[in-house]
Amino acid sequence: MRGLLVAILVAGPVLAGIAYSMLGALGVVGPGASGVSLRHLQVVLADSATWWGLLWTVWIALASTLLATILAMGTAVAFRAERGVDRFARLVAVVPLAVPHVVAALGAVLVLSQSGLLARLAFAANLQTSPADMPPLIYDRYGIGLILALSWKEFPFLALIAFSVIARRGALLEETARSLGAGPLQTFRVATLPALWRGLLPSMIAVFTFVAGNYEVAALLAPSSPLALPLLTMERYTDSALDVRGEAFVLVLLAMAVSLCGVAAHEWTANKFEAAE
């Protein structure tokens, strides 16, 4: 029983924060509070910026998770052997894991901006003559720079798991598939890929959740329209009109709902696959 109490203590500040955000969303506490009303809720839910922000954030999180997963699977499959080159590749692939998110965002600015390294390389190759010739890859509508930065940052985490899946289960499953007469492509399809998918899915969901909630990378790389959900929340929360600040609480609850769905999905897939092992 003491363990439960301890857990409540660990989660206490968050539980208090959730309660505070709920009360704030209802207009009971917080900046511009004026008694219980559903006004903030109505305003936020009727605001198209909310839904564009949510949709855009989900798009960014989905695209960067998928890109990171493909890179991780590709690296794990291509460099699975025990030769020097494979070990070196696996080592190098893990490096971005150590880079803080805000530094990854800086790296993206330096490489992808219109006067960044990529633009300079294009100039050197006579592909462009001025920064304006470079297609915008940061602050762009589709969040290409943001997606590249996030998948660069998150792919080592998934790669580490993919390495261990291949090392633990890959060989046996593939041998079985081959002994049953499968060709190389079929072996990959029926043995390697499903094993990687099962091993990676819980972590993919974790990455999705983290990426969707990240503030600093979006702050440095996202466009001002559409405004990503974390940026929209910050903008509302620091608005000079006190009444608008109350709307931030509704957005906070929305972000929490997204991440709690992520946690539930993570637990569900992790348990399901653990049972299957």
Binding site: V10, G17, V85, V103, A104, L117, P156, L160, E216
Partner: protein
């Protein structure tokens, strides 16, 4: 057959290495130069000027570095020790109680940092801790403790409780058991938990921003203002400094892992 396959593999390795390391190499180049105008591929003037702050305590980047270090050290120490006790208690539960407790400990990790910041701001400001080092430290400890608690739940899940029972049956009191049996056995996980707590605080942005209210300036915040001001050389220098501790920890962890002959490297 082997020779014909190694060509593209070396090429692939090169692509991977460039992809993973180029942004960092760029940071290094920018941090040791002062002029690098479009469209030149290499810096025009090399200089150590960006690192001068290390010798001069008056600069913003210097004070923000020390604020970051102090915050991360505090968060690391507090969250590793508190996480050990919390994880130990939770690991002793079973059935639904354990699942509930783990889910609760998961909250500080899972809730987006910005949402956490807005939720925490009220209580910390009411307690008079807004815009102060202590307030930001408390805020950093919240997610750090979530991580270390979960970490120690995992450690204690495979911990052999019989050693403690044995010590008790030989007449040791609970304090002695902790000091002479449990802690020495857990020295390594404690160091790892410290590193975990340190890193959670080290890279933190939204909590510092909202609880610190612009008065507590850390290196990540300094980096962001350099980027917004277009001061690429200083931003790169700050970025490198920010990358050094986690990279060092990764190397140490990687070496430890290699010693255990697992599969990373």
């Amino acid at each position: 057959m082997k020779a014909s396959r190694s060509g593209p593999r070396v090429g692939l390795t090169l692509v991977l290495a460039i992809g993973a390391l180029l942004p960092l190499a760029l940071l290094v180049a920018l941090s040791v130069s002062v002029e690098w105008f479009y469209p030149t591929l290499l810096p025009g003037r090399w200089s150590s000027a960006n690192w001068d702050f290390l010798g001069r305590g008056s600069e913003v980047i210097f004070s923000s570095l020390w604020t970051s270090v102090a915050l991360a050290l505090c968060a690391g120490v507090v969250s590793s020790i508190a996480g050990l006790f919390a994880g130990r208690e939770i690991a002793r539960l079973d059935g639904w109680r354990r699942r509930l407790a783990v889910a609760l400990a998961f909250l500080p990790v899972a809730v987006p940092p910005l949402a956490l910041s807005i939720g925490l701001q009220y209580s910390l400001l009411r307690a008079g801790l807004g815009g102060r080092f202590v307030g930001v430290m408390v805020a950093h400890i919240v997610p750090a403790l979530g991580y270390t608690t979960l970490f120690f739940v995992g450690i204690f899940a495979v911990f052999d409780w019989r050693v403690e029972q044995e010590a008790r049956s030989l007449g040791a009191n609970p304090f002695d058991v902790l000091r002479r049996v449990t802690l020495p056995l857990l020295r390594r996980p404690l160091v790892e938990a410290f590193a975990l707590g340190f890193l959670v605080s080290w890279a933190q942005v939204p909590l510092t921003l909202l609880i610190g209210q612009g008065l507590v300036n850390t290196l990540p915040l300094e980096l962001m203002s350099y980027v917004n001001a277009g001061q690429d050389h200083l931003a790169a220098t700050a970025g490198l400094v920010l990358t050094i501790p986690p990279l060092a920890l990764l190397v140490v962890a990687g070496l430890a892992v290699r010693r255990l002959r697992v599969v990373i490297a």
